[in-house]
């Protein structure tokens, strides 16, 4: 590599600069733009045709489509099967499809009765052809024929249609090659490590891509966005401290294992529901371990050191929290498991007070809000409101404690909004340097290793808290903007998918997961540019941090599980196979 650099540099230094200037500096953000826009358009542009899982035939002969795995039947407009009859309750029953294809119906406490074949039931299996009576309104459940299923599958938008994920991945790979080339030309130390790291990254992304091809899944946009974010995350590590490159990759590997395992578990809703208890247990254990073993760093008791590795358990608890918070429709409407979730949340809240990390508390609060909002969809829920207020109190307490015991944390808050008057103290040092360096980088950046922020990586947190500024300084503001746009597109995707979701379990999990990722990005970016106080939260996939990297990949599994586009996601079963079983 040195030889290459010497060769080109030695041949003609002036034209080398010219080549670098015109070719690399400008083409990097353009490539990034293509990668992000292609991924986002593919994620956001699909037609949202509902999947029909069965029909309800009324006595009049009218056929009502059953378009989810969980269907609220009732009089109110937001029911999935609306029956506008005075005798029907607002929330009357929930018709649920199970993994093996069988159906159940549950009475969810309305004033009218639910009968199957003439017998009043609270919860009962329903076979195709069975006579269902809701407060006297007769109907029967009818199967979707194989032909209908095939036609339906053919009509639905296939993932990646119009925006080949393979081509997007090729563009991303070219981007990665150019990033490496920039490093080589810049003569940064540790070039071999950098080259190897990017080689591993590219190998992993292509392996994952082909593995999904083999099982006939073509939606790779979510992964592409994550790998794009990681590309720039590694670029930060490559400039700040190459020793972090392998750590980030190992964390990615571990994260990918969780991502795949979790994704496959989520295919089966019953497995996923059982996993909730495991997740809740693991979350509790992790937090307890945190409380017992953790060391206080900068006022927050958030780190466990094992051997040479440092782990931030609260990052992993987020994943457990999301999983534990998800729930199916029948349970939501009948408020089952609510108490357990409320207690679980209260416990986490208590631990967060001890952890004393405002950023983490805020992230959990956002995650909790997402879950609470979705779970209280049909009614106001006092318990959730109480816990919500409690979580807010936890945040307040952690701020107060931090300010009291650790003056520098308080200074961050008091410096907010007038950082330029505090350029050289804790109140504004980091943010003012971030803004100066963002400006310094311009739209196209100074190139790897040429930034000033790399001098304050590690203890100065420029490769974690200020990572957007770091990317902006060395790779340009356009590139930094692409990171933000890429992440935002994931949020919009989840919202769009919710309409055609199979189960509320997936919708809740995906919304909570993406809300947490977005909240992290908001706190990180807004903190850097003084729109909010700095809270030390990582930017997903980009900030240096092993636990954060693992947690982010695990979170993506929830997004994959809500991607019901035809043949899109490995975390979603193909409907025709389901039809075979049914």
């Amino acid at each position: 590599m040195q030889a290459i650099s010497d060769f080109i540099g030695g041949a003609d230094g002036v034209s080398l600069l010219g080549v670098y200037h015109t070719l690399l500096r400008v083409s990097l953000p353009i490539l990034a733009l293509f990668v992000v826009v292609r991924s986002a358009r593919s994620l956001l542009g699909f037609r949202r045709e509902p999947e029909v899982w069965a029909w309800l035939r009324l006595a009049t002969g009218e056929l009502l489509p059953v378009t989810h795995w969980e269907n609220l039947i009732g009089r109110k407009k937001t029911a999935d099967v609306v029956l506008s009859f005075a005798t029907i309750s607002k929330n009357h029953a929930v018709l649920t499809r199970h993994d093996d294809g069988h159906w159940t119906i549950s009475d969810v406490g309305g004033k009218g009765r639910v009968e199957v074949n003439g017998t009043r039931v609270m919860h009962s299996r329903v076979n195709y052809g069975d006579r269902i009576s809701l407060a006297g309104l007769e109907m029967s459940l009818e199967q979707v024929s194989r032909e209908e299923a095939r036609l339906q599958a053919g009509a639905r938008t296939r993932a990646g249609k119009g925006h080949s994920p393979g081509l997007t991945l090729i563009l991303l790979t070219i981007l990665q090659v150019l990033v490496v080339l920039s490093f080589l030309l810049a003569g940064v130390e540790g070039q071999t490590t950098i080259l190897t790291a990017y080689g591993i990254l590219a190998a992993v992304e292509w392996c994952l891509f082909f593995a999904q091809k083999i099982i006939r899944r073509s939606g790779f946009e979510i992964e592409t966005i994550a790998f794009f974010l990681m590309t720039m995350g590694l670029a930060v590590a490559g400039s700040a401290n190459t020793a972090n490159l392998y750590k980030q990759l190992i964390s990615m590997g571990l994260g990918l294992i969780v991502f795949l395992a979790l994704g496959f578990c989520l295919r089966n809703l019953e497995t996923a529901q059982k996993l909730r208890y495991l997740a809740a247990g693991a979350g509790l254990l992790l937090l307890l371990a945190n409380l017992v073993l953790a060391t206080r760093v900068n006022g927050s008791k958030n780190w466990i050191y094992i051997g040479g590795m440092s782990i931030q358990p609260s990052e992993l608890v987020k994943v457990c929290f999301v999983l534990a918070g998800a729930s199916t429709m029948d349970r939501i409407v009948t408020r089952k498991n609510m108490l357990a979730f409320v207690i679980f949340t209260a416990f986490i809240g208590g631990c967060l007070v001890v952890l004393n990390d405002f950023g983490t508390a805020a992230i959990f609060f956002i995650g909790f809000l997402a879950i609470a909002l979705l779970r209280s969809s049909s009614y106001p829920n006092a318990a959730l409101i109480v816990v919500g207020v409690g979580m807010a109190a936890v945040m307040a307490v952690s701020v107060v404690l931090a300010v009291k015991h650790f003056p520098h944390v308080g200074e961050r808050f008091s410096g907010f909004g007038h950082i330029w008057s505090h350029m050289n103290d804790n109140k504004g040092y980091q943010q003012t340097r971030a803004l100066i360096c963002i400006a310094s980088g311009g739209l196209f950046g100074l190139g790897p290793g040429n930034g000033w922020l790399r001098n304050m990586a590690g203890a100065g947190a420029s490769d974690t808290d200020l990572v957007i500024a770091f990317v902006s300084e060395e790779w340009g503001l356009l590139m930094a903007a692409m990171l933000i746009v890429a992440l935002a597109s994931l949020g919009i995707f989840v919202v769009r998918s919710a309409k055609v979701a199979r189960s509320s379990f997936y919708t809740i999990a995906a919304t909570a997961a993406v809300s947490i990722l977005l909240a992290q990005a908001i706190l990180n970016f807004f903190g850097t540019v003084d729109f909010l106080p700095l809270t030390g939260v990582t930017f997903p996939f980009v900030s240096n941090g092993g636990s954060s990297m693992m947690a982010c990949w695990a979170m993506l599994a929830f997004l994959k599980a809500c991607d019901t586009r035809q043949n899109a996601s490995f975390a979603v079963k193909l409907p025709e196979k389901e039809a075979d079983k049914g």
């Binding site: 992440l487 949020g491 919708t507």
Partner: protein
């Protein structure tokens, strides 16, 4: 499921917030990136190799161990422009041009910049600044002189000041001798103008009262307006006077009548036209806006306003442009302090002359210049230079609880030496007695510099 999918909007809100934040930041980048860069210590002031005055003297070289001028007087006279070592005085002037000095632009950032060879050329002259500082003789105040045809500021001195190599500890609020030590009074302070404000009233009268030059005004030493007694200085009775005599005598009784004649509306309009209440932007400095408030426009308020007491405050730099506008018969060049900025020999900024809005009609300006020259001939012997036509007006403003503020403003009516000047001495007593000798010294120094350039 429908009810649930509606609630996923929360994620949409978060995504929207993130994108909105990004957009807001990109807009802020477009507006403020220059500001951010100008705060950069590493690529900022360090990017300057030297700052020179208009005669080529090096007054600041940040890379040197002793960065300021070797001349103690020049150091003290320029420290407010160049900033001190402790960071108590912000070098607004230099920071303004850091983007040019480091070759910053919003597209490329500082890519390919060459640091450490920037050169800032100022319009002020070290010798004039020294003379001005000495003339103030330890009193608090400010002196400004500028070329009203080009905008170059030759002198912008403020006191109290200090030697940056021997900075006093940060003074406490009770220390009145060092009050406002870090302020540049020329830009950042407003004063009651006293009788120099009669130049505004006179201009309004010349423009709105057609036979004003034919009228006479009687003075018995005091006059009662709306129940309030207004005195002339020492209750001196000036008798029957024309406008010319009233201005030369600075007769309060006459100007109380003239202000009534002009009326609250025309007086306010004139003050607005001159821009008394506006802030001027001068190479990184934003002057403190003055005030002109006639309240309910009662007759006594109008009378006081016309005299320049109680209800008026002016900023020295801004008022100086009015002097320039009279001298230039309508409007004046806007003042600037930085002539040229270059980096590695490449000129990255070259000052050009911008103009104020018209402040006075040509006819009124001709008449007023004549009246002001008459003042000098009659009253201000020190600035009554032979061969150079100086026009001026003095003022003695009453300040509650303190001695009077002495003011003196005017210009040289000349194409060869187009200079306007203003002198303010806090607790200085009589404007004419205190300030006219100071103005004479400083103007003389300016003339010497300009002669050597011509």
């Amino acid at each position: 499921m429908k009810s649930i999918s509606g609630r996923t909007l929360m994620a949409l809100l978060l995504a929207g917030l993130l994108l909105f934040g990004l957009l807001t930041f990109l807009i802020r980048y477009g507006i403020y990136a220059d500001d951010w860069i100008s705060h950069s210590r590493s690529s900022g002031v360090r990017s300057i190799e030297k700052v020179t005055d208009r005669s080529g003297r090096v007054v600041y070289a940040p890379h040197e161990d002793r960065p300021y001028s070797d001349d103690g007087l020049i150091r003290r006279a320029t420290v407010h422009l160049l900033g001190d070592l402790e960071g108590n005085i912000d070098p607004l002037l230099l920071k303004q041009y850091i983007p040019q000095l480091v070759g910053f632009d919003k597209i490329n950032g500082t890519y390919g910049m060459q640091s450490g060879n920037g050169h800032v050329e100022l319009t002020v002259d070290g010798s004039v600044e020294s003379v001005a500082l000495q003339a103030l003789a330890g009193r608090k105040g400010t002196i400004g002189v500028y070329n009203y045809k080009t905008g170059e500021v030759l002198c912008a001195v403020t006191t109290p000041t200090f030697d940056p190599y021997d900075a006093p500890p940060v003074p406490d609020a009770a220390d009145s001798a060092l009050e406002g030590l870090y302020l540049h009074r020329f830009f950042h302070v407003t004063y009651p103008p006293g009788s120099i404000f009669k130049l505004v009233t006179t201009a309004a009268a010349l423009e709105t009262v057609p036979d004003i030059l034919d009228r006479t005004f009687s003075c018995a030493g005091s006059i009662t307006v709306n129940g309030e007694v207004i005195h002339c200085q020492s209750n001196k009775a000036h008798g029957e006077q024309t406008l010319r005599q009233a201005l030369a005598n600075s007769c309060n009784c006459a100007y109380a009548q003239i202000a009534q004649l002009v009326g609250a509306e025309a007086l306010t309009r004139k003050a607005e036209q001159i821009g008394i209440t506006e802030s001027l932007s001068v190479d990184g400095y934003h002057t403190k806006p003055g005030s002109f408030d006639l309240g309910g426009a009662s007759k006594n308020r109008v009378a006081w306003a016309g005299i320049g007491q109680d209800v008026d405050m002016v900023n020295p730099c801004q008022y100086l442009t009015y002097m320039g506008a009279i001298a230039n018969r309508g409007r004046a060049a806007l003042p600037y302090l930085v002539k040229r900025v270059s980096s590695g020999g490449t000129v990255r900024y070259q000052a050009k002359t911008d103009w104020t809005d018209p402040m006075i009609t040509r006819a009124a300006a001709n008449e007023l210049a004549d009246l002001m020259h008459n003042n000098v001939v009659q009253m201000y012997a020190p600035v009554n230079f032979s061969g150079v036509k100086v026009c001026a007006k003095s003022g003695t403003a009453e300040v509650n609880g303190k001695q009077n503020t002495a003011t003196f403003a005017g210009f040289i009516d000349s194409d060869q030496f187009p200079l306007a000047f203003i002198v303010v001495v806090e607790e200085g007593g009589s404007g004419a007695a205190t300030c006219s000798p100071i103005a004479a010294n400083v103007l003389w120094a300016c003339l010497n510099v300009m002669r050597s350039e011509q």
